[in-house]
């Protein structure tokens, strides 16, 4: 046991100290935060500067409301299609000539194309202006009344509520569950692949360097294999924890800078445009935050770690066996790896289906079979335990995965023991089968 510990330490430290590990650990969240930051930044900048000249001779566009903060409208300024750009307008909008004409298009000329959000805002604004004018003209409804009606209706929303066991009320919003499930299972898939391949390369290195023989004259091959698997697994966990910490730190830092403006902006827009879409957006945001807090995070994170650790152990043992059977030629690794990568890829395909139908038979059974369970179960868990995933399924899945990991480790240890000292040619699956199941 003591020697296994020494091996674990070496496998762990030699990897954690590598420049590539440090870089990938610190750069990934920075990149992540950077991309989000850039998106936020661009959104703010872009939507802040637009000023649109409206040429409307029909009297439809009254510009009664204050403009949105991000897009300013000016009614009939002294500009033409030829010179609006020089006078500081980013676009010029022409109304159809006939009064009350709702079928013709409004034409928006600009030198650059607008983003989706700006276009949407312009559309919204025009639609509202026309609506108001028509309502005023035909039914003598004042703009204030319209606004109050609007704000009342937008506040009414359907809130999905699911009845759990014993009449317990659970959140029924599946969008977040979908996202969480997708991200979690994809993360499991990626890490199983990355760290599994790392184990395989480590074993191959020891074999081709011929250090394996030096080491197995000091320790049992099983100790060497387990030491490597556990050491690399610990590297994976370390990377996860560092990422979580870094993401928390970064989002705190970003929260201290950028979103402050954004929030203020949202606040302003909301104040100045009563009954507008922003109000609905705020409500949407509030409800999302509410949903976010109702998700059972401890369960999801706990299950994630469980399925990462045991899924990794399950596959890493197989990867180690393949690594030990390879002989210097990396192409051997490719062909021997195929039977292991196959179920992983299949799992991802099933997952894409299972996440939209988390209660289907396919999803249920594949989340219990150890080859697929780490990926499929993580896609289902965010939809609710014990709502979508009954406890017995979760328990059985976990039990089988632990059993599966013990089995693959036992199997791989037998292959590994023989293959690590075999040189000359790559082992075939038939030979590996024989080594695994022979007696003694």
């Amino acid at each position: 046991m003591n020697k296994t510990w020494i091996i674990i330490q070496r496998e762990y430290l030699s990897r954690v100290k590598k420049k590539s590990f440090i870089l990938s650990t610190f750069l990934t969240p920075v990149l992540f935060a950077g991309v989000i930051g850039i998106i936020v930044f661009i959104t703010i900048r872009n939507s802040d500067k637009e000023k649109i000249a409206v040429i409307d001779n029909s009297g439809t566009f009254k510009n009664q409301h204050d403009s949105l903060k991000s897009v300013k409208f000016e009614l009939n300024p002294p500009v033409t299609k030829a010179n609006f750009y020089l006078k500081g307008y980013s676009a010029i909008l022409f109304s159809p000539h006939a009064d009350g004409d709702t079928t013709s298009d409004w034409l928006l000329y600009s030198r650059k194309s607008f983003g989706v959000i700006t276009t949407e805002q312009v559309n919204e604004k025009i639609r509202k202006e026309i609506e108001n004018t028509l309502l005023l003209k035909k039914f003598r409804v004042s703009t204030t009344d319209i606004d109050s009606i609007r704000s009342t209706t937008t506040e009414i929303k359907v809130k999905p509520v699911r009845l759990g066991e014993n009449g317990k009320v659970e959140n029924g919003d599946s969008t977040l569950a979908y996202i969480v499930g997708y991200v979690a299972s994809f993360l499991i898939y990626l890490t199983l692949f990355i760290y599994g391949a790392m184990v395989m390369r480590g074993v191959m290195e020891e074999k081709t360097n011929r250090i394996a023989e030096v080491i197995v004259s000091s320790v049992k091959p099983f100790q060497l294999m387990i030491g490597k698997i556990v050491g690399i697994g610990a590297v994976g966990l370390t990377q996860f924890f560092l990422w979580i910490i870094l993401i928390i730190v970064f989002s705190a830092v970003i929260g201290a800078f950028i979103p402050h403006e954004v929030l203020l902006q949202a606040q302003h827009a909301n104040d100045r445009l009563p009954g507008g879409e922003n109000n609905a957006a705020m409500i949407q945001l509030a409800s999302t935050i509410h949903t976010f807090t109702t998700v059972n995070w401890p369960l999801i994170v706990g299950c994630f770690l469980f399925y990462f650790v045991f899924g990794y152990l399950f596959y890493a043992a197989l990867f180690a066996a393949v690594g030990s059977a390879v002989n210097e030629d990396p192409q051997d690794a490719q062909s021997l790896m195929f039977p292991i990568t196959m179920p992983l890829i299949l799992a991802i395909i099933i997952m894409i289906n299972a996440i939209t139908h988390p209660e289907s038979g396919l999803a249920k059974w594949s989340s219990i079979i150890p080859f697929f369970s780490p990926i499929i179960m993580m896609a289902r868990i965010p939809f609710g335990v014990p709502g979508t995933v009954p406890w017995w399924q979760l328990g059985l899945s976990m039990l089988l995965l632990v059993g599966g990991f013990l089995f693959t480790t036992w199997l791989s240890a037998k292959i590994y023991r023989t293959a690590i000292l075999m040189y000359g040619k790559k082992a075939t699956w038939k030979e590996m089968w024989k080594w695994a199941f022979r007696k003694s």
Partner: protein, 308 residues
């Protein structure tokens, strides 16, 4: 009590018997040479003694008790034929790591590594990586790593290959020192002149079987062909004696083969009677190389695979 005793060891591979009923014993402090052509089963034999393989039949007695790999391998140092080290790992750390796997504490490992590095002038290597070393240098390092934990039994598979004469001598000296301290050393090689120089005892294997064993001088005696070299003042024109025949004629001497039933004295007597001054007279013992070729040379070189 022998340090190591091997009784009727057998290892069967799928297509052949790699080791076929081999027995021998080694006294403490001996330098033991294991000889044999490529594919004779030397490596398989050594792997069983180092606990890497389990024998199919037979037993290994280490220090008077049945060999228990888990405990006893800590008292064995093994340098395999194919050297191996982590290329990217720092040399100092690597030595410490492998010493700890042999059961040394971290402090002990550090002290021992320092000591050996100092002795073999390797101090400056500590923070280098193995990939920076030449072949000879990494050989030296591998040797140090093998003996670092002061094993009772040291097994060296071709320890001098790739070493220049200076480093070769350095290692040879260290081997003598270790043997003097009571370490037992098993050497596997096919370089006969080294064996003659270093080993006390040898065993020759071929096709998984033991061909012969014994001390170097005994073996050479056993295979003596009663050849003598004689240096003479003047060579006689004609030699006619019933006791010997001339095998080779040199400018100042002769190589003679004594016939059955006669002794060296009969040869000397012949020349003395003729009044020829004998300047030098000594027996030519066959070199191990000659014996090796004589015993093995006429068998097919490559081991044939038997049908499974």
């Amino acid at each position: 009590m022998p340090l190591l005793e091997v009784r009727h060891l057998v290892k069967q591979y799928a297509t052949q018997r790699a080791v076929d009923d081999i027995s021998f014993s080694i006294e403490p402090g001996t330098i033991f040479g294991l000889l044999g052509p490529n594919g004779a089963g030397k490596t398989t034999l050594l792997r069983m003694i180092t606990g890497i393989f389990y024998p199919d039949e037979g037993e290994i007695i280490f220090e008077g008790r049945k060999f228990k790999p888990a405990e006893d391998i800590l008292r064995i140092g093994y340098m395999p034929e194919e050297r191996g080290l982590y290329k990217k790992m720092k040399i100092g750390e690597q030595a410490l790591y492998l010493a700890q796997l042999k059961g040394l504490t971290k402090e002990m490992a550090f002290a021992k590594t320092k000591e050996w590095f100092l002795r073999l002038e390797m101090q400056s290597w500590w923070t280098k990586k193995v990939e920076d070393l030449s072949k000879g240098m990494s050989q030296k390092l591998q040797f140090v790593i093998t003996v670092l934990h002061e094993p009772k039994l040291i097994i060296l598979d071709e320890p001098f290959s790739g070493l220049d004469p200076v480093n070769s001598n350095l290692i040879k000296e260290e081997i003598y020192k270790l043997a003097k301290k009571g370490c037992t050393i098993i050497f596997s090689t096919h370089r006969m002149e080294q064996v003659e120089e270093i080993c006390d005892q040898i065993m020759l294997v071929n096709k998984g079987r033991k061909i012969l064993d014994g001390s170097v001088s005994d073996v050479r005696q056993e295979f003596r062909e009663t050849l003598f070299h004689i240096s003479l003042d003047t060579l006689p024109r004609q030699i006619a004696s019933g006791s010997f025949e001339v095998v080779e004629q040199e400018e100042q001497g002769l190589v003679v083969k004594i016939k059955d039933g006669f002794t060296a004295n009969d040869v000397l007597q012949y020349f003395i009677q003729q009044g020829i001054l004998v300047k030098e007279f000594h027996e030519i013992l066959p070199s191990l190389n000659d014996i090796f070729i004589k015993l093995i040379g006429d068998t097919p070189k490559a081991r044939q695979f038997q049908p499974a």
